[in-house]
C-alpha cells in the first residue's frame, strides 16, 4: 500500500464508483415535462411486431402519457413470479399488467389488482364472452378486462375420418371407437406408427385442464362454487377419471402422453402420428402450416366430445388486463387498459396474431373470420368455456389436483375413489383458509 501505484488504483476505483452512481442516478426515470409515466408489465410476446404497433398507436393518440413497457419471461409461471414480487413490494412501477385467467382471485384477495366495478358499465359487460368475465370476477367484483381467450378443442384428421366414413365424434366413447378402427385399419404391420389420441397428461397445470374437460363433460365438477367444496370425489368425476385411465392412457393414446405438455403432444399430431388431438387455438396455425406440419390441410377442429348425458366442455384459458392498486395514475392506467381490451386492439390481435377475441361481436367480423376461419367453429367452444376453480389459493389447489390426477391415471393399481377422497379433503382444507 505504500507504492504509488496502489494509491492510483484506489483513486481509480473511487472514480469508477462515483461515475457509476452518477450514471445510475441519471437513469432514474424522469418524466418529460407534463407527461404521465405509465409502466406496462407484459410477458415476452410471440408476435412482438404486433404489440409494437398496438403500443405505438396508443402513444400517438395519447401524447400526455409516456408509456413504458417492461417485458418479463414468456412462461406464465415465471411471469407470475416476477409480477407478484413487484406487487408484493407495493411497487409503483407496474401500473398495468397482464394476468393469466387463473390469477384474478389471487390478485384480488391480496389487494394487488384494482376493483373496476364503477368503471365498466353493465352495457359494456354485455359485449364480452361470459367465461372470461367470470374469471375476472371475485366475490362479486370485477378485477380485470378480458384481452383474449383460450379454450381446449379437438383437432382431428379430416382425411382419415372421411376415409372411414366417420363424422367428428360427439362422445368420448365414439372417439375411442373411431380411433381404434382407424388405427387398426391404417397400421397394418407397422404397429405404433399411428395413435388414436394425444393430449397433455404430464404432472403440471395442463393435466388439470385436460382432466377438467373429461370430468365436466360427464356432469361432474372440480369445485362447487356455492358450498366451496371439491367435487373430485363424486361419482361423475371418478367415472371420468377411470375412463381416462382405462381407455385413453395406454389405450388410444400412447403411455408417453404422461410426459407430454403442449409441444410434445402437438408434435405427435403434426407428424401425422395421431388421429385426434386436444389443444388450444394456437395449434391451428401450426397444424396447417406446411412448413411445420406433415398434415397441413388435412386438419379439422371441433368441440371436445362429452360423455352420454353430458355436454361438451372446454377449459377456459386466456389473458386479462389488470390495473395495480398501487398505481399513482389510475386515470391514465384505466385509459390504457380499456384501449387494450377495445374491439380495435382485439381485432388486430386476432387478424395478425391469431389470438381469439373476448368480445362477442368480433366473431361475426369479416376481417377476423377471414384471417381465422376456424374461429367460426370455435365460437361455440368459447361461449361454453368455463374457468377453473376461482380461489386466491388456486396454485395450492392445483398442485393437489395435479398430484391426484397424475397418480390416478398413471398407476393402474391405485384405488381412485380413495385417492380422490384424500385429495378432496386436502383441497377443502386449503380453501377453508380464505374468507
Amino acid at each position: 500500500m505504500r507504492r504509488p501505484g496502489s494509491r492510483w488504483g484506489r483513486g481509480l476505483l473511487a472514480a469508477v464508483i462515483i461515475a457509476l452512481s452518477v450514471f445510475a442516478l441519471s437513469c432514474e426515470k424522469k418524466a418529460p415535462e407534463g407527461k404521465t409515466v405509465l409502466t406496462f408489465v407484459t410477458w415476452k410476446p410471440n408476435q412482438p411486431e404486433v404489440w409494437d404497433e398496438i403500443l405505438a398507436a396508443f402513444s400517438r393518440e395519447n401524447p400526455d402519457i409516456d408509456l413504458r413497457r417492461e417485458v418479463g419471461p414468456h412462461s406464465s409461471t415465471a411471469f407470475h413470479d416476477l409480477l407478484t414480487q413487484k406487487l408484493k413490494n407495493k411497487s409503483t412501477d407496474a401500473d398495468v399488467f397482464l394476468m393469466d385467467v387463473i390469477w384474478p382471485p389471487e390478485f384480488a384477495a391480496a389487494g394487488w389488482a384494482m376493483k373496476l366495478d364503477d368503471r365498466l358499465g353493465e352495457g359494456e359487460r354485455e359485449r364480452y364472452l361470459k367465461g372470461p368475465l367470470l374469471a375476472d370476477t371475485y366475490q362479486g367484483s370485477l378485477y380485470g378486462l378480458p384481452l383474449f381467450v383460450d379454450g381446449g378443442m379437438l383437432y382431428y384428421r379430416k382425411d382419415l375420418l372421411e376415409k372411414y366414413g366417420f363424422e367428428p365424434p360427439a362422445t368420448w366413447q365414439e372417439l375411442v371407437e373411431q380411433a381404434r378402427t382407424i388405427v387398426r385399419g391404417e397400421a397394418g404391420e407397422d404397429e405404433g406408427a399411428l395413435y388414436g389420441y394425444s393430449g397433455q397428461f404430464k404432472q403440471y397445470e395442463g393435466l388439470v385442464c385436460n382432466m377438467m374437460e373429461f370430468i365436466m363433460s360427464n356432469r361432474g365438477t372440480l369445485f362447487h362454487r356455492d358450498t366451496r367444496k371439491s367435487g373430485i370425489d363424486e361419482p361423475p368425476a371418478l367415472e371420468a377419471v377411470r375412463f381416462v385411465r382405462k381407455e385413453i392412457i395406454g389405450g388410444v393414446a400412447p403411455r408417453g402422453v404422461l410426459t407430454y405438455q403442449e409441444p410434445e403432444s402437438l408434435d405427435l399430431f403434426i407428424q401425422g402420428k395421431a388421429v385426434f388431438h386436444r389443444n388450444w387455438p394456437y395449434a391451428w396455425e401450426i397444424a396447417n402450416n406446411p412448413e411445420r406440419s406433415l398434415v397441413a390441410g388435412k386438419v379439422g377442429v371441433t368441440k371436445l366430445p362429452h360423455f352420454p348425458g353430458g355436454k361438451s366442455f372446454s377449459t377456459l384459458g386466456g389473458w386479462q388486463v389488470g390495473i395495480s392498486s398501487y398505481t399513482e395514475h389510475p386515470e391514465a392506467a384505466w385509459r390504457f387498459a380499456r384501449y387494450l381490451s377495445s374491439p380495435r386492439v382485439q381485432r388486430l390481435l386476432a387478424v395478425r396474431a391469431g389470438l381469439a377475441p373476448t368480445r362477442k361481436a368480433l366473431y361475426d367480423d369479416p376481417d377476423v373470420l377471414g384471417a381465422n376461419p376456424q374461429f367460426e367453429r370455435m365460437k361455440g367452444v368459447f361461449l361454453a368455456a368455463y374457468p377453473r376453480p376461482r380461489t386466491p389459493l388456486y396454485p395450492a389447489v392445483s398442485h393437489v389436483m395435479q398430484r391426484y390426477f397424475s397418480r390416478a391415471v398413471s398407476d393402474p393399481g391405485v384405488d381412485i375413489a380413495k385417492e380422490a377422497e384424500r385429495a378432496a379433503a386436502e383441497i377443502n382444507d386449503i380453501v377453508s383458509l380464505s374468507p
Partner: protein, 299 residues
C-alpha cells in the same frame, strides 16, 4: 494524524476483510436465519388479511404429517444413496484410468470433465430428449426402428426415478473422479515399488496401498456429492416436474413449489430448513464418524 506502519497494515487488513465478512453474513447467515424465522410464522402471500402470525412449531408439526413431504424426503434420500454410490464407483474408475500415463491422456482427461462443465439445466434437457418415448436415443438404441416396442421411460414412476439418477451420475462422476485423482497423485510411487518388490500383485497393491491412502479423497468426494444430492433441484425441474405420480418429487422442488408457486412462505421455509438440517447432519456425520475414525487411526 500519524499511525505506526504496523497499525496501518492492520487497519488495511481489516478494511479488506470487512467486505468479505459482510458478504458472508448478508448472503449466507442472514438467509439461513431468516428462513428459520419465516418457518415459525404462518404466511400466505395471497391472503394478506391473515397477517403473519407467529405459530411456533406448527409448520414443523404439519411437515411431520405431510405425506407428500415425507415421500419427497424418502425420494431425496434414495436419490442420494443411489446416485452418490454410483458416482464414487465410477469416479474411482475414471481416476484410475486417467492417472495412468498413456498417449492422449490430456484429451481423455478433458473429455471426461465435459459433463461436469455443462450447466445442469442443459444436461437435464439432453437427458429428457434421450429418454423421450418417440424420438429418444435410448429407445432407438434398444429397438431401432421398431416403434411399437418403444417405452415411455419418463411416464413410468420407477424408470423416471432411475432416469434422474442416471443423469446425475453421468454428470457428477467426473467431479468425484477429479477429487479422487488428486488423492491418487498424492500417493508416493515408492510405496508401489516397495510392494512390487515384496511380491504383491496388482489387485493386492490396489487393496493394500491405493485404497487405504485414497480414503481421505474418497471421503471428500462422498461429502460433496451427498450434500449436492440432497439439494438436487434442476434435474427434477427440467426432466419430470416431480411426476409421474410424485415419483421424482424431491424436497427442494417441493419447497420451491410451496414458496414460489403457492405463496406459502412460512411452510415452504420450513421445508428449506429441513433440507438445511439434513444436509448439515449428513456433513457432520461424515466428518465425525468416518473422518475421526479414519484420521484418528492414522494419527
Amino acid at each position: 494524524m500519524t499511525l505506526g506502519a504496523s497499525a496501518r497494515d492492520k487497519l488495511f487488513v481489516a478494511a479488506l476483510l470487512t467486505p468479505c465478512l459482510l458478504f458472508v453474513v448478508v448472503f449466507a447467515y442472514y438467509p439461513i436465519a431468516y428462513s428459520f424465522y419465516l418457518s415459525l410464522h404462518k404466511i400466505v402471500l395471497s391472503l394478506p388479511a391473515l397477517g403473519q402470525p407467529f405459530v411456533g412449531l406448527e409448520n414443523y408439526r404439519t411437515l411431520l404429517r405431510d405425506g407428500v413431504a415425507l415421500r419427497s424426503l424418502t425420494n431425496t434420500a434414495l436419490f442420494a444413496f443411489f446416485s452418490v454410490g454410483l458416482e464414487i464407483l465410477f469416479g474411482l474408475l475414471i481416476a484410475l484410468v486417467i492417472h495412468r500415463r498413456f498417449k492422449g491422456r490430456g484429451i481423455v482427461r478433458a473429455a471426461v470433465l465435459v459433463p461436469w462443465a455443462i450447466p445442469t439445466v442443459v444436461t437435464s434437457q439432453m437427458w429428457r430428449f434421450i429418454f423421450n418415448d418417440k424420438y429418444g436415443l435410448l429407445n432407438f438404441a434398444l429397438h431401432g426402428a421398431d416403434v411399437g416396442s418403444y417405452t415411455a421411460w419418463l411416464a413410468d414412476p420407477g424408470f423416471a426415478f432411475g432416469a434422474i439418477v442416471v443423469a446425475d451420475v453421468w454428470k457428477a462422476s467426473a467431479f468425484a473422479g477429479l477429487l479422487i485423482l488428486a488423492g491418487l497423485q498424492g500417493i508416493p510411487e515408492e510405496l508401489y515399488e516397495a510392494a512390487r518388490i515384496d511380491g504383491a500383485n496388482a489387485w493386492q497393491r490396489f487393496r493394500r496401498v491405493t485404497l487405504p491412502l485414497l480414503k481421505p479423497a474418497i471421503l471428500v468426494a462422498l461429502l460433496f456429492r451427498t450434500m449436492d444430492a440432497f439439494r438436487v433441484f434442476d434435474l427434477v425441474f427440467v426432466m419430470t416436474q416431480g411426476g409421474p405420480a410424485d415419483a421424482t418429487n424431491v424436497l427442494q422442488f417441493y419447497g420451491y413449489k410451496k414458496i414460489f408457486a403457492e405463496g406459502l412462505m412460512g411452510y415452504g421455509s420450513t421445508i428449506s430448513v429441513l433440507v438445511f438440517v439434513v444436509t448439515f447432519a449428513v456433513a457432520m456425520m461424515y466428518i465425525r464418524v468416518v473422518g475421526t475414525r479414519l484420521f484418528g487411526r492414522e494419527a
